[in-house]
């Protein structure tokens, strides 16, 4: 399901001009791919925030350019709160694209009733999928996850025609009993007061 993005052509470049552009509520973007020319674009901040907010990957561009595109990369500021720049790549509806999608856990694991803790180890999966079938999020049902069991990438529901780009044996979620001293330092009380200095010569006891 493609989101609609209104785009304007951009002929300005440079840090200062882009800062001014962002202040006016617009985001610089670039469109490339399929061996065609690279085009500099401007997006409305509100529109791209909405698309990225729900995890949309496929967009339909309208305005200066009218074609389908995949959001290849989003650049964020240091606080991860506002978008600085967006990379878009041209796609056809039938074309297979490689996308990294977040994995969402659904349901309640029965293992938690027996004292287990669900650990979500892998939060993203890369799949190769027809462009028109790309979803916002992959789901993994954990309704059958018992204590001391794990679910792998093979258990994830993939869109029609999609396949995993990575290993199917990658563990995504586990349910294990909590360890008593999880994360706590279990020292013997003989921890050195100072670290060892690399390359420091130790005093030699034996002399000739």
């Amino acid at each position: 399901m493609a989101d609609l993005l209104n785009v304007e052509a951009r002929d300005t470049t440079g840090t200062l001009r882009m800062k001014r552009l962002r202040k006016s509520g617009k985001i610089p973007a670039v469109l490339y791919g399929h061996g065609e020319e690279c085009v500099s674009l401007t997006l409305a901040k509100k529109e791209i925030d909405r698309v990225v907010g729900h995890g949309g990957h496929i967009v339909e561009l309208k305005g200066a350019v009218s074609e389908g595109a995949l959001i290849k990369e989003v650049q964020w500021d240091a606080f991860g709160s506002s978008i600085l720049h967006v990379d878009l790549t041209r796609i056809d509806a039938t074309e297979k694209v490689e996308v990294t999608l977040p994995v969402e856990l659904k349901g309640d694991a029965p293992g938690t009733k027996n004292g287990g803790v669900v650990s979500h180890l892998l939060h993203e999966l890369t799949i190769v999928c027809p462009a028109d079938k790309v979803v916002d999020m992959l789901t993994l049902k954990i309704n059958d996850l018992e204590l001391d069991q794990s679910l792998t990438a093979a258990n994830v529901e993939l869109p029609v025609g999609a396949e995993l780009a990575g290993e199917a044996t990658d563990v995504i979620v586990t349910c294990n009993a909590p360890t008593a001293a999880a994360g706590e330092a279990d020292d013997d009380g003989e921890a050195p007061s100072e670290p060892e200095v690399i390359g420091e010569k130790k005093e030699e006891s034996g002399d000739e």
Binding site: V52, G53, H54, G55, H57, I71, V74, W76, D77, A78, F79, G80, P102, V117, V118, S119, H120, H123, D136, M137, P178, A182, G183, E184, A185, D187, A191, E194, P195, E196, V197, I198, G199
Partner: protein, 138 residues
């Protein structure tokens, strides 16, 4: 027990200046929620440990806490009632250098409400302004 490096190249380092925002370690990677610093400063190893204890007392084995910073830097001081001079003091404690945007702790396996309460308790221990952030989708 407070953390410190096992091996170092130099026991003492110059004070330096902390410039700019965090360009690494500024994204929630392991958990679902993170505690992000909004200021620059040094975070003592004892403070990191105090934060860990405060968080783990609240989550009580329900979720998982990740500590994203490590005290790599030694801070020296001259003992009390010592005359000036005679060289640089001895390493006293260890700190992590924090830039605005650095993720300090992460939590997984808890609800948003639980994470909010947990990070609020943890924020009291921190020597600078912090805020809770969620994992980004893209």
């Amino acid at each position: 027990m407070a953390q410190m490096p096992k091996r170092v190249k130099h026991r003492k380092v110059q004070r330096g200046h902390i410039k700019g925002n965090a360009s690494r370690g500024n994204k929630v990677v392991f958990g679902d929620f993170g505690l992000q610093s909004l200021d620059t400063g040094w975070l003592k190893a004892q403070t990191i440990e105090a934060g860990r204890i405060a968080a783990q007392q609240y989550i009580r084995g329900e979720g998982k806490l990740y500590i994203r910073v490590f005290p790599h830097r030694s801070i020296t001081s001259t003992p009390l009632e010592t005359r000036m001079g005679k060289g640089k003091g001895e390493p006293e404690y260890w700190v992590a250098t924090i830039r605005p945007g650095t993720i300090l702790y992460e939590l997984s396996g808890v609800t948003e409400q639980q994470a909010k309460i947990c990070f609020a308790r943890l924020a009291h221990k921190m020597p600078f302004k912090v805020r809770m952030v969620k994992r980004r989708l893209m």
